[in-house]
């Protein structure tokens, strides 16, 4: 009888200890999840697919382009310089990608918005020209953002195509389209 009671007490205590431990573990896990911030970012695979898509599009008129893909913070994820391109082209492509990423729009649209005479819907001057003075931006066409669930997870910039800024942008767009199935 005494032994049974001891076993019962031990068993109940055991259950308490285990459940308390479990609760503590859960609490710690919760705290751990709260301490880190998960951010969405363009992956290496995606960056390479985007770049290849842009290169293929621009190959149609034999343009050897320079392509840059930046991540959600605007840092370089991937760059490849076209044959015969100058080192300045690399920086131009990077800055196009950065500008598109940070302002979440194609640099062509951003160019219009930041023009000295740009106006809003009601015809009022918006005067965003100052954005062009920010570091790492560039007032040139050829940059397109990579948007996933309304979140700019990256940007792509193209320079050096034979057709100039408009063709640069078309190739950059073709690059983003290469991962369109992942950007639902």
């Amino acid at each position: 009888m005494q032994r049974m009671i001891t076993a019962l007490v031990l068993g109940v205590t055991g259950i308490f200890v285990v459940s308390a431990g479990f609760a503590l573990g859960q609490q710690m896990l919760k705290q751990y999840t709260l301490q880190t911030l998960a951010e969405n970012d363009i992956s290496v695979d995606q960056a390479l697919t985007v770049a290849q898509g842009a290169i293929n599009e621009c190959k149609k008129d034999n343009s050897a382009i320079t392509v840059a893909v930046v991540d959600h913070e605007g840092s370089v994820r991937f760059i490849v310089r076209g044959d015969g391109a100058t080192p300045e082209m690399v920086d131009a492509a990077r800055r196009k990608a950065y500008t598109a990423r940070t302002f979440r729009q194609a640099t062509s649209a951003w160019l219009e918005r930041t023009a000295l005479d740009a106006v809003d819907d009601k015809g009022k001057r918006i005067d965003l020209y100052g954005q062009r003075l920010l570091d790492n931006t560039i007032a040139e066409k050829g940059g397109v953002p990579v948007i996933w669930h309304g979140d700019a997870i990256g940007g792509v910039g193209v320079s050096g195509s034979k057709g100039g800024g408009e063709a640069d942008e078309a190739c950059a767009k073709a690059g983003v389209n290469a991962i369109a199935d992942q950007l639902f």
Binding site: S43, V44, A47, L48, A64, D71, S75, V76, R77, F78, I79, V80, R81, G82, D83, P87, V90
Partner: protein, 171 residues
Amino acid sequence: MSRMSLMLNAAVAAGLLVAAGGAAQAQSSTITSEQAMAAMRAVQAYAKNDGSNPSIAVIDRDGNIVLELRGDNAAPHNIGLAERKAFTANKFKMKTIEWRDATKAGTPRADERNTPNAIPLGGGVPVMLGSDVIGAVGVSGTRGGQEGDTAGAQAGADAIMKTLKRLEARN
């Protein structure tokens, strides 16, 4: 065999003479974007074996970037370091792991470590055409430390060399 190679040498020399006679400008070789991509894929194939996501830089003979890739979940220093390793290998015409050992503190060459942008860490491998550097590959962030980074970069440099050999065969 030796006659074959003699003939080959003669043909190459004749080709060089023709090129030199036909054009007054200086010419040099460098690596193409396609070769840089081939190097990147070789480094990635190497990295797949050790389960890492290294950052990669390929530079041309002038030390300018041809290709840069920042691996998934890379540490902030990785990409810049890959570039510096490639630069160092290009500049000193040797693997950076060997240059590191050749420039240890107290040795006659120790001062070379003061070269701006050079880095005494393994992971940079030059791409040589004879005694000419035509580019370099730098890798940072494999699992094998400096030896692993060196092996990865070597795989990249080898991939470029392979395309050169294929070109030679075609000519």
